[in-house]
Symmetry: C2
Subunit: 160 residues, 2 copies
Amino acid sequence: MPRRDFAGQNCAIADTLGLVGERWTLMIIREILLGRRRFREIQRQTGVAPNILADRLQTLVDAEILRRVGDEPEYRPTRKAVDLQPVLLMLMEWGNKHVPREMGPPRAIYHAACEHEAHPYVVCDHCGEHLDPRETALRPGPGADEAQRADGTIPQPRAA
Amino acid sequence: MPRRDFAGQNCAIADTLGLVGERWTLMIIREILLGRRRFREIQRQTGVAPNILADRLQTLVDAEILRRVGDEPEYRPTRKAVDLQPVLLMLMEWGNKHVPREMGPPRAIYHAACEHEAHPYVVCDHCGEHLDPRETALRPGPGADEAQRADGTIPQPRAA
């Protein structure tokens, strides 16, 4: 069962982390995106303890992020798993930038559409431009509670 | 101290999660991006236990993701913290899409540059087009180990 400490918050980030924010869960999603489908394979690749892996997979199946298929089960990604790919790509970018390795990045992202290596960044769907934190703010949404409404518009911080 | 179970892996995602993948850490970064700077404020907003918050903040300071400033300390974001913003935006997008709330999103992203609400997505820095998982693959990078080289090019999965 997922722990529910995050559930009392009126926050979409907390909602997501309530499902995939447990230790190891994003590593399991990584393996799924690398094409591993079986318990033993994921266990070997990550080194996670079997009882923890079983728990995390059950949470992901319950949340319909993975589908368990067959008697010797495969764990297959649903749309919800594929939609986590951008999160993992941005975690990978961050690691390559801020925890650099002497030999360079272990893996590269290849964009088949343009046949080039890609370094992803996030853009605004309205204008298509980079969502630079210096030009981005958080605002109360339609589901904001009273405290969030009182926060008003919060510009994103600059680096100190 | 960050736990080191992820450190033996030759993986940029593991490197990142080794620093920010503990339970609560990304919620603390969320608070920093919402402009909260003080221990009590972050504690009140997240509901995290004080001993856990102290541990996570120390990890973030050690990793130079936050700077601790002053006697009654403020925790200020460095470039490394600001560079985590895309991760948090994509976690927020995922939550709004897949864990929808009756009243709608609690918070909205505002792009000051074009003066519109933004729904972020990731693009390829080479061609500027959406990095659709169906057109994306992972390949061995310059720092790949033998097993990663043997993996070759791994297309990203489709939703089952």
